[in-house]
Structure formats: structure tokens, C-alpha cells
């Protein structure tokens, strides 16, 4: 650990105070995007600078940190952020969803149920759910102030008119505590129901757009829909090829140039836990073969 070079968890104390105040307001006004003075981080925008700043502001020496990118603990982004905090804060890291106290995520909510002692920190690219419908910040801010969300329903309706169903499959808008329409970040809509009445605290950080928002535990989170076109989840109609799970969100992996493909759990920890428990899928390696050299 290079202690003298950086403050604990990289950010200076004044920055942490500013972010901490924003987090408290965000929790007090669920779904409202609190502006904050986002700092430059030693990684490019789009790599999770918002999530990293939120994590840095809440992290303590006793925390156990897990970082996932599209459900995976093993991608470059996840590994480098985990190492970043291992180095600057000296915190313990894990890949286990259940063991973690702080989970920073890009675009997924873990499959394993979250519990009360946990904080889920989302990396958010575009925090404003209305931004692609109305580019002016002054206007979207007024719409939030008035609770005027007709435009979003028109967008979902246009989906139905063009495709016959609501074709929005990720960043699916939700209403938090019956007041603010919120972008859950580009998580697949499969994950939306997990946000509702979740026992864990959910914090969202958008670094480039300089916004922090939150969903307190046990808060109503409703995916927008219509009576005759209710919200539905979507997953590929297949079991995981490695663990056989029929309930997890799946990634499609192209295996050759002849149309071959396989579906595997996007949540690597969930998949590995299931494989360790003896579950097998169609493409599983023989049990313990891969682990023999460890």
C-alpha cells in the first residue's frame, strides 16, 4: 500500500464531505438526481468514475468490496477498480455477493438476494431518464419538479405502436416511491424487479454527468407500463450452459462462425457457486478438472 501518496480511498477529505452530503440528500429524496462536484479520477469517463467516487466516499477499512462489470467479477474494469481500492484503501475484496458489504456494479444486479448490511453502488452513464426525449436540462428539471412524465409514457407507447410490445430492454424507466421517474442505469430490465423493496441501500453515481441518486432500502420501485401492456422481464429461453440455471440472466456467447452459440450466466459468482454445489450444464467441463492445478 502506498499510503503517503494518497489519502485513504484516494479522494481528499473535502471531496468526500461534498459527496457524502450529496448521498444523504439523495437518500432523503429517493430517485431525485442530486448535483455534485464530480472530480477527475485516474480512469476515463465511462469506466465508472461516478461509482468509484461514491464507493470512495462510503468505504471504510472494515468493508469488503466486490466489483462487477455486466455481472462478471473477472473483466478488466471490475478487476482494475477492485485493485484500485485494494491499493488506495487497503480494503478486503471478494467475488462473493453474500460476503460483500459494498458492491460496485456496472449494468447488473447480482442474482443472489442482497441483504440489509449491504450497499449496492451503480455506475451510471446517463442519469437523466428523459434526456433522449428532451435534451434541455432546464426542461427535464422542470418535468421532474412538476412530476410531469407524460413524455416517457409516450415513448413506451411508441414502442408498442411500432413493435407491438414495449421494446425497451435495458435502462428501463422506473418510478421511485411514487414520485420520481428514474433511470436504473443500463441494467437489463430483467433486474428491475430486484430494485423494488430491496433490503440493501442502492446508490447511483454518474461521474461525467455529475449526479448522485439513491433508493433507500424497502422502497417502492415500479417499472413504468400500461394496464394492457404490463411490464415483463426478459431472458433467453435456455438454461445456463455451465451451471444449468433456469432463473438467471444469460449472456449469449458466439462460439464459432457457423452460428454456434452458448448461453451462460452473466453473474459469474452465481454461476460458480452453483457449479461448486454440483450443478452442471450442457457445456460443463468434467467436475474438478479445471480446478486440479490450483
Amino acid at each position: 500500500m502506498n499510503a503517503p501518496a494518497y489519502n485513504f480511498a484516494y479522494l481528499d477529505e473535502q471531496t468526500k464531505r461534498m459527496i457524502r452530503r450529496a448521498i444523504l440528500k439523495a437518500i432523503a429524496i429517493p430517485g431525485y438526481q442530486v448535483p455534485f462536484a464530480s472530480r477527475e479520477m485516474p480512469m476515463p469517463y465511462g469506466w465508472g468514475t461516478g461509482g468509484v467516487q461514491v464507493t470512495a466516499a462510503i468505504l471504510g477499512p472494515d468493508d469488503v468490496l466486490k466489483v462487477i462489470d455486466q455481472g462478471s467479477d473477472d473483466t478488466t474494469n471490475a478487476i482494475s477498480i477492485r485493485k484500485f481500492f485494494g491499493k488506495t484503501a487497503g480494503v478486503a475484496t471478494t467475488t462473493s455477493t453474500t460476503d460483500a458489504t459494498v458492491i460496485q456494479t456496472r449494468h447488473r444486479i447480482p442474482e443472489a438476494p442482497l441483504h440489509a448490511g449491504q450497499v449496492l453502488v451503480y455506475q451510471v452513464p446517463i442519469p437523466e431518464p428523459l434526456r433522449f426525449l428532451e435534451p434541455r436540462e432546464t426542461e427535464t428539471r422542470r418535468m421532474h419538479a412538476l412530476g410531469e412524465y407524460g413524455l416517457m409514457h409516450v415513448k413506451l407507447y411508441e414502442d408498442i405502436a411500432r413493435f407491438g410490445h414495449i421494446a425497451t430492454s435495458y435502462a428501463y424507466p422506473v418510478k421511485v416511491n411514487a414520485r420520481y421517474v428514474m433511470d436504473p442505469s443500463p441494467t437489463p430490465k430483467f433486474d428491475n424487479p430486484k430494485m423494488d423493496n430491496c433490503p440493501a441501500l442502492q446508490l447511483f453515481g454518474a461521474g461525467r454527468e455529475k449526479r448522485i441518486y439513491a433508493i433507500p432500502p424497502h422502497t417502492d420501485v415500479v417499472s413504468l407500463d400500461f394496464e394492457d401492456h404490463p411490464f415483463t422481464r426478459y431472458r433467453f429461453d435456455a438454461p445456463c450452459a455451465l451451471c444449468g440455471a433456469g432463473d438467471s440472466y444469460l449472456d449469449e456467447i458466439v462460439t464459432d462462425d457457423k452460428g454456434g452459440r452458448m448461453f451462460v450466466c452473466s453473474d459469474t459468482d452465481y454461476c460458480e457457486q452453483r457449479q461448486q454445489a454440483g450443478h452442471r450444464g450442457s457445456e460443463s467441463a468434467a467436475p474438478h478438472k479445471e480446478r486440479a492445478h490450483v
Partner: protein, 201 residues
């Protein structure tokens, strides 16, 4: 005349004490009605409880105008201590304060004298930090709202006694409103603007 050397000390470990205090406040805000403990010790001016002092050291700085009530400003000690440790400007206009510290809650200002934020920026509101007699004994209230699984029970002896009645404006004003942190010694309870009284009070 108090010199700097005579002022009560701040946190021994600024970084980790502020972090653990913040996590207590964050947990309190995320779970309204639950009693959280502040474990980090700091020196306190005589009008301030331990929890109040720790919250001030954790969240106040030059960006946060602070308003002090009669109990806090009876002697200049609190203002001096805040200025030295946090550099927060102490203001006499409660409507521009980011934080208000109340040590004499019986004579609490009417809540509309504090900032509620605007409908566009409801975050530009005052957070009221209220020192109370007890957060374990006293009248029983049941709270509900975001952060609470069903209802949360709180036994507290709070002045002003009609605090929850006064906080009913939060329901009418939402998303504008005022967030309250109750402090007794090292225990804190947060009542954010989304919390409603279910029973009692």
C-alpha cells in the same frame, strides 16, 4: 477570551473517524427511526453532544452555512469551535443554512424559517440537527416510509413535543422539505422528509 489551544479537540483520526461517523449517519438516513451509534470520539464544546460534534466534523466545511439556535449560541464557544475545526460560516439567517444546530429545541424556530429547497432543486434544503433528551425512553411513535420495512418503532423523548406534527409539512411540500437528525449523546436517529407518522406522536 478562548484561545485555540483551549478549544476542545477534533477527531484524533480525521479520515477514519469521519468515515465511520458518515456511515452511521448514512445508515440512519437510509433506515429512518433506527437508532445508530457514533463511535468516533471528539472533543465537544459544552453545549454540544458527542453525536452533534462528530456530525459537524464529518459534514461541515466552507461550503455549508451553519445556523445555531439560542442554546448553541449562548456562549461563543460553539461558533469558535466550528470555525476552527470545520471553517463553516456561521450565519444568522436560518433560511440560507445548510445545517441548523438546535441545542434548545423547546424554543425551536418554526420550520418554515429554514430552507426547504425548491421544486427544481429540493436538495437545497436545511438539515436540522436536534439534540433531544432520550432516544430510548419516552413516548412511542411508529414511523413509515422509504427505508422502513413496514413500520419502525421509536421510543424517544423529543422536544418540541409536537415535532412530528410540525414535520407534517414534509408530506405537503414533497419533494421540498426538511430532513431532521435527532441526537442524544452518541445515538442518532434520522427523520428524512419522506418519513411519515403511522401512530402515536
Amino acid at each position: 477570551m478562548t484561545t485555540v489551544a483551549e478549544l476542545p479537540a477534533g477527531f484524533a483520526d480525521k479520515v477514519l473517524s469521519a468515515q465511520s461517523t458518515f456511515r452511521s449517519v448514512m445508515d440512519a438516513m437510509a433506515r429512518p427511526g433506527s437508532v445508530q451509534r457514533i463511535v468516533s470520539a471528539a472533543g465537544t464544546p459544552s453545549a454540544m453532544m458527542r453525536g452533534t460534534a462528530a456530525i459537524a466534523l464529518t459534514l461541515f466545511d466552507h461550503d455549508t452555512p451553519v445556523w445555531l439556535d439560542g442554546g448553541m449560541s449562548a456562549t461563543p464557544e460553539v461558533a469558535k469551535w466550528l470555525k476552527f475545526h470545520t471553517s463553516a460560516p456561521v450565519v444568522s439567517d436560518s433560511s440560507i443554512a445548510s445545517f441548523a444546530l438546535a441545542g434548545d429545541p423547546e424554543n425551536l424556530l418554526s420550520l418554515d424559517r429554514f430552507a426547504f429547497g425548491s421544486n427544481e432543486y429540493p436538495d437545497r434544503s436545511t438539515t436540522l440537527i436536534l439534540q433531544v433528551e432520550s432516544l430510548t425512553d419516552g413516548p412511542f411513535v411508529e414511523l413509515q416510509g422509504p427505508g422502513i420495512n413496514g413500520t419502525a418503532a421509536l421510543r424517544a423523548s423529543i422536544q418540541p413535543q409536537d415535532l412530528f406534527e410540525r414535520l407534517a409539512i414534509n408530506a405537503a411540500l414533497f419533494p421540498r422539505g426538511i430532513d431532521v437528525v435527532l441526537v442524544h449523546d452518541d445515538a442518532i436517529v434520522a427523520i428524512p422528509r419522506t418519513t411519515r407518522l403511522a401512530r402515536g406522536g
